[in-house]
């Protein structure tokens, strides 16, 4: 900053002196002497203050900032870490049937920050459900989604990578919410499941076993198209 101020001061003095010399007849030796005298006068009479102010105002004070990276906290596990207070428990519908599909979908929508939509769905639908009727009802409500009926592991990879999660058929005649893949201490990959019959905790099953069993339960999974809620913010860098 001081270098730039000095530079602009010198430039301003040079401009003024040259302008003055252009108007006065003199020899080359006189020019040098005049330069020295004028510079001394300018500095002495405080005109340099005005040029210094001009030097500050004209170019601005933008200097490159230096930042330092800060350590990240441990990552959330699982990636779809719906708070326990928002875990929806399974309930009996009007027909006396369990509403696991609707409870799972409610959990899924809450994670997508669609709480009001989840509440509307919960108030509107209950009892047992199956895949085609679920999709029919989602279509009627203009809710966009993707699904698989072939137990394709890449569908679960996709919903885990995008942090959205999904609902899927899991356990006999049951539906749960898939909350993403996690890596265990043994280095293996596990599926994190939120069972609406056991809210408040996540259940973990090794990946390949999970895929095999999921296929046995029908291999159906469905994810609503909407961004997931944001990750837990943390300060990742500081400006020095």
């Amino acid at each position: 900053m001081f270098v730039s101020i000095s530079l602009y001061t010198m430039l301003a003095c040079s401009l003024t002196l040259n302008a003055w010399l252009l108007t006065r007849p003199s020899t080359r030796a006189d020019v040098i002497e005049t330069w020295l005298r004028v510079i001394a006068k300018l500095l002495g009479r405080g005109l340099a203050v005005g040029f210094i102010a001009l030097a500050i105002i004209l170019p601005g004070c933008d200097e490159p900032k230096v930042a330092r990276r800060l350590p990240a906290p441990p990552p959330e596990v699982p990636v779809c870490n719906l708070p326990a207070e928002l875990h929806q428990r399974n309930w009996l519908g009007q027909k006396g049937q369990g509403s696991c599909v609707h409870a799972s979908l409610t959990n899924h929508l809450r994670w997508l920050n669609q709480y009001e939509l989840g509440e509307w769905w919960r108030s509107k639908y209950g009892d047992g459900e199956w895949a085609s009727q679920l999709r029919h009802r989602l279509d009627a409500a203009n809710i966009e989604y993707s699904f698989t009926e072939k137990a394709d592991p890449r569908f679960l990879d996709w919903v885990s990578n995008t942090r959205t999660g999904c609902i899927l058929w899991w356990k006999p005649a049951h539906c749960c919410t898939f909350m993403g893949w996690v890596i265990g201490q043994d280095g293996k990959q596990y599926a994190a499941i939120l069972d609406n019959n056991y809210p408040g905790k996540f259940e973990y099953t090794e990946r390949e076993q999970f895929i095999r069993l999921w296929a046995g339960y029908g291999g159906f999974a469905l994810a609503v198209h909407h961004p997931a809620t944001i990750s837990l913010p943390y300060l990742s860098y500081e400006v020095l």
Binding site: T27, V31, N90, Y115, R154, Q185, Y190, P227, A228, L232
Partner: protein, 342 residues
Amino acid sequence: MKNNLLGQLFLVALFAVLLHVAAMTSALGYVYPNLKPDCNTCIEECDLELPRTPIGQTIGSTASVPAVNHAATNEMKQQILRRQPHVPYCPTCPQVVPQYVKPSVAPVVIVPQQPAVRPVTPAPVAVPQQPSQVKPVAPMTSGSKYQIALFLDNSATSQRLKSWFTNDAKLAGLKSKCDYQEYTAENALYKTRYARIVPVSQFPAVLFLKPDGGHVHAAGGQMIPGSADALYEDMREGYTLAKSVESAEAVHEQPGAIRETGYSWDAGINPAMQLEQDCPDGFCPPTEQPGWRPGQRVADLFDRVDSSKNAIVWASAMEIAVFVLLGIVVLMAVAVAMKKGR
């Protein structure tokens, strides 16, 4: 006598038949108390509507895999462990654990003399063993979007902030490339997850985050600038700073995977498959594109949004001012030298 004997035999036979029928009926009632069709497995008998035409969006068109239990796909799912009274969800209510109450009248148990049907023991359900010795330590994520979150109240600043991300071209363009969310003080997720990080006293607030939540830029309350352009520049500056610290330590990750516009499910499905696409959300890290040459600036998150930046001279205001002043000084010195040299 003969008639009496026949009559007695007839009565005995009739009594035996009636006893047998009664036993059968009792046995059936004991083993299968509900003779109505089980709607879990007999959908047709339950006369339920079942759309035949698949509707909705399907990912891919992979051939059917024999290992998938398709019969279970359209089986009705309800699965509730305990028959308990309906407890409406009430986040502010004290947690009440419903208790199963046994009926006060014990059911009448009929012991059949001759059970006609042997009760079927259901096959044990394949329940995966819980990994009790395993503790999840890290998520499996690769390729998520940057995130923008607005924390809004009823103030005019909140409304203005929200409208910027809708109406301003730059901010709306940036928003379209990120995961975008809005939260209020009444939002359930905000109360349970973000309230201690962004208190209501800081509203309105805007957060610009990396996919893992790492802060790129944050502004709240009085720190929100007065114009959309200024906010965009602040976010851009934060992005540049965040990138600068990343590049110092990050390992260059370019698996060379070919970016695909959709998902191809044509290959056979097996449990060992892994997703190989690196950018399923539609935004990939810069890769070599046709016509790209070394030294060419690589487009990033902000370059695509800011289409108005076409500087002829790649210099800041300070540098431009220096050049101009130097030029003027040189010209005037030349003029002086020419004049004095005559």
